[in-house]
């Protein structure tokens, strides 16, 4: 299989210097620093094929940003190997970053006191983009990301959503083949999120850009990613198509039944009652062992049913399941 990203047994060890409080403490920690080691990423392997959109998800502190920083050549891994487009970012950083676009939602990669347009001009020279290609690219990006209103505003004066769009445009100017997005929709309103998701879909479809996306917004994942990689405590927990992960992690569905009069015996051998509010009852059942229609048929035999609905588990349930089962350290 062809791959753009190849990661093997990746480990990043952070050395944490404990600082003690007070004057005595700070003198002590100056002379005898207490160092503890801690693995932010603890043995992760995966590979990604060209043109995939992969959601890289996990709870706070799972090691997502650390992984992305290693893949983009910012951090040196403690051990393990990385190949991006066949090259190790640690061995030849400049060659690798030429092919990458990187956006950190938390922190702009733009030049703080330059106007957005000036930042672009600078990037054009830094990446040695051919003038024609630059003009065309910028025109498209300006149009799709609606940059025209603030292209002449200094970056520090931009709102969060404007800045994010600017950052994404900056990351795409040199037509990278891989795009890393670390929380690109953090703090954005529904419209802005929608625009950014559409943009990601669009460049993936038209230019075949491979996208690696971390986010805490599971709508992003649901709408964009065909595959997710779930990490927790620096370790890989799940890796696969979104549907099968949901199926695997949350094998049950819910049936919500509303009665028109109270009934005495609510139990059924095929499902368990997990909640009851007045005349509304929630049944949980295994989708492997009984179909929804069979269960409904069985229940309507004994209960005065008024209304019925079936709830499918979603990504959020699945993810919560993962976080629960891989206990925190």
């Amino acid at each position: 299989m062809e791959t753009v990203i190849e990661v093997k047994d990746l480990v990043k060890e952070y050395i944490i210097v404990k600082k003690e409080s007070g004057l005595r403490g700070s003198i002590k920690s100056l002379l005898f620093p207490k160092k503890t080691k801690f693995n932010g990423v603890n043995g992760i392997s995966f590979s990604i094929a060209p043109g995939e959109i992969v959601g890289y998800i996990g709870p706070n502190g799972a090691g997502k940003s650390t992984t992305i920083k290693m893949l983009t050549g910012i951090l040196h891994p403690t051990s393990g190997s990385i190949k991006v487009c066949g090259i190790s970012p640690q061995a030849d950083r400049k060659a690798v970053v030429r092919k990458l676009g990187v956006v950190f939602g938390q922190r702009t990669q733009l030049y703080w006191d330059l106007r957005l347009g000036e930042s672009f001009e600078l990037l054009c020279r830094i990446y040695q983009i051919d003038q024609q290609a630059y003009d065309d690219n910028l025109a498209i990006l300006t149009d799709v990301l609606k940059l025209q209103e603030f292209i002449n505003t200094p970056v520090r004066q931009l709102s969060l959503g404007q800045r994010m769009r600017g950052d994404i445009a900056a990351a795409m100017l040199h037509s990278p083949s891989v795009l890393f997005l670390d929380e690109p929709t953090i703090g954005l309103d529904a419209d802005a999120k929608h625009a950014i998701r559409n943009f990601i879909k669009e460049i993936n479809r038209t230019r075949g850009v491979t996208v690696i996306l971390t986010t805490h917004d599971l709508d992003d994942v649901e709408q964009l990613c065909s595959r997710i990689i779930v990490v927790n405590n620096g370790k890989l927990v799940e890796d696969g198509p979104i549907g099968s992960i949901i199926h695997k992690l949350t094998p049950h569905r819910l049936l919500v039944v509303e009665l028109h009069e109270p009934a005495d015996d609510l139990t059924t051998p095929h499902a368990t009652v997990i909640k009851q509010e007045g005349l509304k009852i929630w049944y949980q059942f295994e989708k492997e062992s009984i179909s929804a229609s069979e269960l409904i048929a069985a229940l309507s035999q004994k209960l005065p049913i008024q209304d019925i609905s079936v709830k499918e588990p979603n990504v959020e349930d699945a993810i919560r399941e993962v976080y629960k089962t891989t206990a925190t350290r």
Binding site: I74, L75, F104, R107, I126, Y127
Partner: protein, 272 residues
Amino acid sequence: MVSTIKHYVSVASCWARLAVQRQLEYPLFLFSWLLMIPIQYFSGIWMLKIIVDRFQALNGWDFPQLTFLYGLGLISHGIFVVFFINTWSIDHMVINGGFDRLLLRPMNVFFQLVASYVNFIGLIDCIPGVIIFLYGADIAGFDWTLANIGKLILVLIGGILIRAALFTSLGTIAFWTKRNGSMVGFALTMLERATMYPLSMYPYFLQALFTFIIPIGFISFYPAAEFLNADSGGLDLPLSFALWTPLVGVICFLIAGGIFKFGMRNYESAGS
């Protein structure tokens, strides 16, 4: 190779243009420019007056020679601040993760650090140095021949490289200590003492230190001694200091670049 140099020059000039633009936009720019030039001019004259009152002949250096040395030290400091001011914030960038952005661009990190900000306003700060130096050169009988001007330029370039190397090495320490313990103030004091006054007035071991270990004697002291035939405290080298200073400068700069590159391996970015 040629295309790499072209690439770097094109980026550096774009940055320089943007830096000028940005500084021109500063609302008080014109005001401060108009105000600062005379202020700097008069402070130069005033400093000169203090020097005249205070400087006695020192270790075989007479007053004109001392003024020349003092002015040379000031000018080289002033130009350094214009081009390398960002080397003062390396430790800060290490702590707050400021290198992330530079590492994501396909260019040398140290180049980006330095070239991204040319502090043109700092040129105004060079005025006192120039005044004092010109006065010193005049009374010390400095020969303004073409050869001497050429030597002077070489010495200035070498001295600036030595300064840049020093501050880069100091900032690089933060890659290991992960602390913001800024050594900039300390280094500035040390540089002032060793570049604006004759090194020969210090104890022997300090002279040796500032010649062979931290070679800041090459920034202004040895060249000035050679230009004016003053007492250099016993260091005699073949050929001219106009060659030695740039050579020492380039060597120090390359070593500092190596240390910086090595330190980058330890870079940990910042959480978030």
